[in-house]
């Protein structure tokens, strides 16, 4: 019989940290410029795929690098930084190569339809938007926003994994790592899905008006991840 109260009391710090990691993930997704199918047709600014898929792709790459780092060091700062850098590299490379396709394959310049001037480079945007579209490609502001989003998501995923790996239990090492990683992937997916209701298909980054809705996703994520954290801590701690 699992001593649920005892396991929870001993690991309450990790419940809090897992919740914090989940909240970071759900906040980070708002930074990632996604345009869904319209962006793949060069009809909207952003990366031509869905929110959840892209956030998961970036965050899980971060989880792989964080997992490799946790194998050789105990420093939490280093593990979180490894997760951050892994996710940022994945999303940076994807955006860069995506832009190559827009420029050389489709023949359109990167442009945003949500702002007249790029907040970072101060370049004029509206005259570079082709007729009948809502922008295309990834202008600098969206690129930087995506890098920030990837980084925050990577930190969040790594924090969840680190917390799960810190719970005391009687499992063999290989089983423990597998189970913790699967829980981390699950919690990551839950928190990548929640913001997609705010985003509703497309978002260009932190300059997009939809970005202001992020507190709603964070509150939802706080509740959902807290429940996920309790279940995962009891499961891992009780085995």
């Amino acid at each position: 019989m699992i001593d649920i109260a005892g396991v929870l009391a001993a690991n309450f710090l990790y419940v809090i940290l897992i919740t914090l990691g989940g909240v970071l993930v759900s906040g980070s997704v708002h930074f990632v410029p996604v345009g869904g199918a319209p962006a793949a047709m060069a009809q909207a600014t952003g990366i031509g795929t869905g929110t959840v898929q892209l956030a998961a792709g970036a965050g899980l790459t971060g989880l792989v690098t964080a997992g490799a780092m946790l194998n050789v060091t105990d420093s939490i700062a280093l593990i979180l930084a490894a997760g951050m850098v892994g996710a940022m590299i994945m999303i940076g490379v994807t955006m860069m190569v995506g832009n190559l396709v827009y420029v050389y394959g489709v023949g359109v310049p990167p442009a945003s339809a949500k702002v007249d001037y790029d907040p970072i480079t101060k370049d004029r945007q509206d005259i570079y938007v082709s007729q009948g579209t809502e922008g295309h490609g990834l202008p600098t502001v969206s690129f930087v926003s995506g890098i920030i989003g990837g980084g925050l998501g990577g930190i969040g995923g790594a924090l969840v994994y680190y917390s799960l790996m810190s719970i005391a239990n009687g499992m063999a090492s290989a089983d423990f790592i597998g189970l913790a990683a699967i829980f981390a992937v699950g919690i990551f997916f839950v928190n990548a899905v929640i913001p997609s209701y705010n985003i509703g298909g497309t978002i260009e980054g932190f300059h997009d008006p939809k970005f202001k809705k992020w507190p709603k996703a964070v509150v939802t994520s706080l509740i959902v991840t807290f429940m996920c954290a309790i279940v995962s801590v009891i499961t891992i701690g009780g085995l």
């Binding site: 199918a37 962006a39 793949a40 047709m41 060069a42 009809q43 990366i47 031509g48 795929t49 898929q53 998961a56 792709g57 899980l60 790459t61 989880l63 792989v64 690098t65 997992g67 490799a68 780092m69 050789v72 060091t73 420093s75 930084a81 490894a82 850098v85 940022m88 590299i89 994945m90 940076g92 490379v93 994807t94 955006m95 860069m96 190569v97 995506g98 190559l100 396709v101 420029v103 394959g105 489709v106 023949g107 310049p109 480079t121 370049d123 005259i127 570079y128 938007v129 082709s130 007729q131 009948g132 579209t133 490609g137 990834l138 600098t140 690129f143 890098i147 790592i177 990683a181 699967i182």
Partner: protein, 302 residues
């Protein structure tokens, strides 16, 4: 581990990942999976019946995660329970994954096309015979290469995650990369060659996809022939870079030698990201100069 061995393994992983990325994108071009599929699905409703395979079930990342995880689980079982050699186990695992991919590609095509009967979209049975083996072939190459990457990470680079989980994660990532990069070439360029190059794609053109090929009616294999020249290789480059660069920083600056070297790995990663941001900015400036604005600046002309 010897640094040179680490670099050699990393180079092999990068090469396998590059092949996996290219074959993943070409597989999705033959089957019209993921984003461009919205136009293929829409075309008959806009009175443009076509002869293009149509199989978006749940997008590229989950689809690739499924075949990679099936392949990884099969290969793991063959290696641990039957003591099969690594190369043989990975080959058989990829074969099982390709079989499962072929099964759901068939059911997806028949189901999707049947649901469009009211728009007079025909079901071409010969397309099942010609396209599904091609998709299975590409799926086999993708899964095989992902399993090679995952196996090298677990056995040589001593990554703690199990083989199946690594295959699953790389399956999600390769789908996300392919869906973000290769799809643009197929969706905006190949499907809409009836609009002028560089004009952008007006939303009013949605569903009006090109249905005639260089010879006869266009099909999915024609699309992969076209995308193999640019979209596929670039997707391969992107996934290869993700795998190579994310491993490169910790191979050069091995964190097991001490925390300070670990931090150097992070700094190297941040430097790579800075180079990507600056490279993207150069590309943006080039495109703006090359293509120019689409309309006159109203403030100047007024």
């Amino acid at each position: 581990m010897e640094p040179l061995i680490g670099m050699g393994v990393l180079a092999l992983m990068g090469a396998a990942a590059t092949i996996a990325g290219a074959s993943e994108d070409l597989e999705s071009d033959v089957g019209s999976q993921s984003n461009p599929n919205s136009q293929v699905q829409l075309a008959p409703q806009m009175m443009y019946p076509h002869r293009i395979f149509n199989k978006a079930i749940s997008g590229e990342p989950p689809s690739n995660a499924l075949i990679a995880a099936v392949g990884g689980a099969s290969a793991s079982v063959l290696m641990s329970a039957y003591s099969m050699s690594v190369v043989f186990a990975i080959a058989v695992g990829a074969l099982i994954a390709a079989g499962i991919h072929g099964t759901y590609a068939t059911t997806a095509y028949l189901g999707r096309s049947a649901s469009q009967k009211r728009f007079r979209q025909p079901i071409y049975l010969d397309m099942v015979r010609s396209h599904v083996p091609v998709m299975m072939g590409f799926a086999y190459i993708t899964t095989f290469c992902i399993l090679v990457v995952s196996y090298l990470m677990t056995s040589v680079l001593a990554h703690p995650f199990p083989l199946t989980l690594l295959a699953f994660i790389w399956g999600i990532t390769i789908g996300a990369v392919g869906s973000s990069t290769g799809d643009v070439h197929y969706g905006a360029e190949r499907e809409f060659q009836n609009v002028e190059f560089g004009s952008g794609l007006n939303a009013a053109n949605s569903g009006n996809i090109v249905r005639k090929a260089e010879c006869g009616l266009r099909n999915g294999i024609d699309n992969s022939w076209f995308c193999a020249k640019f979209g596929g290789p670039l997707t391969g480059l992107a996934f290869g870079m993700v795998v190579f660069l994310s491993g490169w920083i910790t191979t050069i600056f091995d964190p097991s030698m001490g925390a300070n070297i670990g931090w150097l790995a992070i700094v190297a990663g941040l430097a790579i990201i800075l180079i990507l941001v600056l490279g993207n900015r150069r590309l943006e400036v080039f495109a703006r100069k090359q293509y120019g604005p689409y309309k006159e600046d109203e403030e100047v002309t007024a």
